[in-house]
Subunit: 299 residues, 2 copies
């Protein structure tokens, strides 16, 4: 069957710690079908994803490629024998799961597949169609169930010995804050202090239930600003996009910008309007899904 | 006068906060002449550099190009109207100095010149000929009068809204350490805690006079390891090269490697021998000069 560009069909999976999104796109970036799944065991969750793809893509045509933007740690180096496998993670059942192998088994070994971290997918989507268009040195940070960053440098994904693990940087503690943090490895790293689960553990109630006036949010903004300072001095990104569930509290943005200015203390700060420097995602919570679609286009 | 490749003559200036190095190279990377100068006012120091270049290069042939690897903050974007000008710096007399303008005035506007930060020059030299050959994701860090980092990502210099300012990241303080730090902007950032001048201010004597057994060095190694953790999680460099005067104390390397392993806590660390991961410069204190030569070759 020959296909014109517009009839090509792509599948996209965004794998997150709380939920998975799976979508079917055409080449015009139209989302033809979408499903949201609660994250359970790898076999249950990915089994449901691949069944959805098999059943729903058939309605639209033959599948051209699949992109997966998935939480880490994850081997994203195609040259590695462990490409597409997860690393050690505190999520029960997910450590060392062979994501690529499972998906190939379900969908066939001929299907072109590209796998990246969720945040690397997101930064690609923001660069292509979202809040980072034309910004060659771009940082996307998610603050939700976990914290992670994806960066473009000179227009290409930053990859080194592995994908980055930006959530695990060490930060100075705020005075009188003795919360021990929730990171199983580091305790009070940025991720240990500032994820949704960290907020819940610190204040004894789910982050979603904390009112806007709660002091939790100023603390949160202060720590986020310290982290952004470190990323700014280390990566000099031309724009920083903040996504993830915590950042749905939009009132955090001006608080973070004000604290960021204090952190930089007039030294080496970006000479642009901060309203255009620290910005929300250009997608309504599905930057990762569009990122997975971008990966499918490039697979 | 026609020149074969081998007869081409290049000048190189490494501008540091304590001293300047100026060298004349041929295309075979032979250092034909070299001079070391104490850093004084811009006009005195750079005047002496350009006089040396004019007088000494003449002995070897016509100058082909000049490379400058200079302390920042410095505008290194050729497209900017401020290209080659320094930013605000605590060094008396150097703020906003027009480095490129001064050198062009002295050596002629026809001479091809490329200007970068000292650490960006150094990382280019380490990549070409030093301790980072073939390592496409490479970090060079200098710890001396100041602290700065130069990174290659995908084999190219990391540049964003400006050059990086890696010395100014925020770090957690060690227990019972209440030294206020010497950074004029931030106080106790990495640079404020760990440069040569910071060590001198903390312990009341020049760093060079502290004996190897002094507790200063364990403290120094612990803070450096925290910084390396943050760079590792943010940049995932495949190798980290440490240069600068403080790192002449070679016994710091094993102390830093041990503390780095503790900092990473088994999460997302590079899966290589740390003896080959955190390494000294491949140059004997003049990585920046060779970096300036590399810049001249590319000018």
């Amino acid at each position: 069957m020959s296909q014109t560009a517009n009839s090509k069909i792509y599948a996209a999976i965004e794998g997150g710690g709380t939920k998975f999104l799976v979508g079917i796109f055409n080449a015009n970036r139209e989302l033809l079908a979408k499903k949201t799944l609660k994250t359970q065991s790898p076999a249950e969750t990915l089994g449901a994803c691949t069944r959805f793809i098999q059943e729903d893509s058939r309605r639209f045509g033959k599948l051209t490629a699949l992109g997966i933007a998935h939480f880490g740690p994850l081997n994203t180096l195609p040259s590695s024998p462990d490409y597409g496998k997860l690393g050690r993670t505190p999520k029960p059942g997910w450590s060392h799961f062979d994501l690529l192998g499972f998906v190939k088994e379900a969908l066939g070994t001929q299907l072109p597949i590209r796998i990246e971290t969720d945040v690397n997918g997101a930064v690609l989507a923001e660069y292509a169609w979202g809040a980072g268009q034309g910004i060659n040195n771009l940082l996307y940070l998610t603050i939700g169930t976990g914290i992670g960053g994806g960066a473009l440098v000179n227009g290409a994904l930053l990859h080194g010995y592995a994908h980055t693990e930006m959530g695990h940087i060490a930060l100075p503690r705020l005075p009188d804050d003795d919360f021990e943090g929730v990171c199983p490895a580091h305790g009070d790293c940025f991720e240990g202090l500032c994820t949704g689960p960290a907020i819940a553990a610190r204040w004894g109630m789910p982050a979603t239930q904390l009112p806007d006036e709660h002091p939790a949010w100023q603390l949160e903004a202060s720590y986020i600003a310290k982290a952004l300072r470190n990323y700014a001095y280390t990566l000099a990104p031309e724009r920083i996009i903040l996504g993830g569930g915590v950042m749905d509290r939009r009132f955090l943005f001006p608080m973070i910008r004000a604290a960021f200015i204090d952190e930089m203390a007039g030294y080496g700060e970006p000479s642009v309007d901060l309203d255009k420097y620290i910005v929300p995602s250009g997608f309504k919570g599905d930057a990762g899904l569009y990122g997975a679609f971008k990966l499918a286009l490039e697979a």
